[in-house]
């Protein structure tokens, strides 16, 4: 069964029609590349799935069940994690603290509930090992490379046993070397049965990891097909409108 299904999703901001009747499915462990020009509606689609706001019309199904998210926490509880475009992590905290932000484990200390730093530490080591990342839990995030920061954000997804990870431009602001690191992280997630929706403007990255490519143009879905049946040239045509639909 599809882990995520969208039926006829539309979203408008006042007069702007950001999404127009988008339908798609995502299977467990599948890596989906979501592409489109600036303003095509990619981020809007991700925000609808992540519960940042409800669609104007249409239906979202998680593992076959219709859901109505009112806030990001609802989506999180349903197993959806988002790695945001501008990386929602706190520079002043350690990698481990960031992984556990908002769900810190505690232990009893006399009458107090205190943060269980040791547990945090050990779990973080485990998660980074699963991601085959060299990130050290104790390091402050502000001293980390872009790739390591991604690892921190992605480790959050593993922590909650997410079933779907949404990534908005994870490779936008980092070096070539680090891109390879992030693509590896995505493969690790997929191997663990977690579906990944990857938004990217970088065609080669998408074709390197994606099982399926989805193209949006002015709020409409113009293609959804296996990556192996498509090509960067075709996708470019779809994005610009040189090719109507595929």
């Amino acid at each position: 069964m599809s882990v995520l299904e969208l039926k006829n999703i539309s979203k408008n901001y006042g007069a702007i029609q950001a999404l127009n009747g988008v339908s798609l499915t995502v299977e467990p462990g599948e890596v989906v590349g979501l592409m489109g020009d600036n303003g095509a509606g990619k981020s809007t689609l991700v925000k609808v799935i992540a519960g940042n706001f409800a669609p104007s019309s249409g239906e979202v199904l998680i593992s076959g069940q219709t859901v109505n998210f009112h806030k990001p926490l609802d989506a999180q509880r349903a197993g959806i994690e988002v790695v945001y475009q501008d990386l929602a992590i706190c520079n002043n905290l350690s990698a481990a603290s960031n992984v556990f932000l908002g769900r810190e484990p505690t232990r009893q200390f006399g009458p107090f509930q205190i943060v269980d730093y040791k547990h945090m530490q050990n779990r973080a080591v485990e998660l980074f090992a699963r991601l085959k990342s060299e990130t050290r839990p104790r390091d402050l995030v502000k001293r980390m490379s872009g790739g390591q920061r991604q690892a921190v954000a992605i480790a959050r997804a593993l922590l909650t046993d997410a079933r779907i990870v949404l990534m908005d431009e994870p490779t936008a602001a980092i070096s070539v070397r680090q891109v390879a690191e992030v693509l590896n992280l995505i493969r690790q997630l997929s191997e663990q049965g977690i579906a990944v929706v990857l938004i990217s403007h970088r065609m080669p990255d998408v074709f390197e990891v994606a099982d399926k490519v989805i193209v949006l143009r002015r709020g409409q879905l113009v293609a959804s097909k296996n990556a192996s049946d498509s090509s960067p040239e075709e996708v470019t045509g779809l994005i610009t409108g040189a090719i109507e639909a595929a």
Partner: protein, 331 residues
């Protein structure tokens, strides 16, 4: 202990040594006792200010809160015969309400902390002056409250209880800031509110709590100050105290941008400020220069700290570049 805290501790010891060499009275029990009392009084509310600054906000109303609640406390106990434990509870409750008001205005009405608490500064001072009709609030002659006095201005083994109270508060607040989940969230909210919100943290609640903590500690300090001065002059009592608190926090490594600082830091900041006051007195510097000395030291301290951090950042960046180059050479 952070590197910053350690640096501050060393500075305190160095300044102390210099003052002692110039005037040995510095280490006399009387002077130490008096200074400890002042550190306790000012430390109490400086810790609270730290919580607010941690969120990236500021509380300018602290001095006025100390005056208003001081007046109310003295009147309740001295004039209306309210049993002092009840009066203490009421004052703390009033403090909480004030903090809650600030927090709600800042989070729900999206007002700037500076504006909200500046208005608080004016309003509470005005109420204190209006309520007393500018006359000094004091205890009636001959009135005595042995238990209350023991708790506030008493001493054990020469250690003033205001100092003890500050240490107790500091330990509790250390637990809150550095060991509790709330503390983690406070750091997160202060640095990157959006990220905190996306992580499922109720950021408004965290911010409001910080203002409540600040005003409650100011309320407790108000009681200690009122008992220490025995009378409260509504137009001058607590004037500029918010600036002492902010100065202590900044000296203690808090960033006014939020998300940085420690309890040990702000306590050491309060210690250094009182040490400087003491220095002015003991070295025969005209006390009119008091603020000038304080301002200069804070300025130099913060400047030195930033230069040092920038130096460290450059060094680690250079190291990282080196590693990268070696990496690439291997590839």
């Amino acid at each position: 202990m952070h590197k910053k805290d350690l640096g501050l501790a060393i500075l305190i010891i160095a300044v102390g040594t210099v003052v002692y060499l110039r005037n040995p009275l510095f280490l006399s029990p009387i002077n130490l006792g008096n200074t400890a009392n002042l550190i306790g009084l000012f430390g109490l509310f400086a810790i609270g200010q730290g919580f607010v600054i941690m969120t990236g906000g500021i509380d300018l109303s602290v001095g006025s809160v100390i005056a208003l609640l001081g007046v109310v406390f003295v009147d309740m106990v001295g004039k209306f015969g309210v049993p002092w434990p009840l009066a203490v509870l009421i004052i703390i409750l009033l403090g909480a309400i004030i903090g809650l008001g600030h927090g709600l205005l800042i989070t729900r009405f999206k007002m700037q902390p500076f504006v909200v608490t500046l208005c608080g500064l004016l309003i509470y001072r005005g109420i204190a002056r209006g309520y007393t009709a500018e006359s000094t609030a004091g205890f009636p002659f001959g009135a005595s409250f042995p238990d209350l006095e023991w708790l506030t201005i008493g001493r054990s083994f020469g250690v003033p209880h205001s100092f003890v109270a500050m240490i107790v508060v500091a330990i509790v607040m250390w637990m809150v800031l550095h060991q509790s989940v709330f503390g983690r969230h406070l750091y997160a909210v202060g640095k990157n509110e959006e990220a905190a919100r996306f992580s499922g943290i109720r950021t408004d609640a965290v911010t409001i709590s910080a203002y409540v903590i600040c005003s409650v500690l100011a309320a407790i300090a108000a009681i200690y100050f009122a008992m220490f001065t025995k009378s409260v002059q509504p137009s001058s009592h607590g004037n500029f105290y918010e600036l002492y608190a902010i100065a202590a926090a900044v000296l203690g490594g808090f960033s006014l941008r939020g998300g940085e600082g420690s309890i040990i830091g702000v306590v050491l900041g309060a210690v250094l400020l009182q040490e400087l006051q003491n220095l002015v007195n003991l070295l025969g510097i005209p006390s009119s220069l008091n603020f000038a000395v304080m301002g200069t030291v804070i300025l130099l301290g913060v400047m030195a700290d930033q230069q040092f951090s920038a130096f460290r950042a450059r060094k680690s960046a250079a190291q990282a570049m080196n590693l990268l180059q070696k990496d690439e050479a291997r590839m």
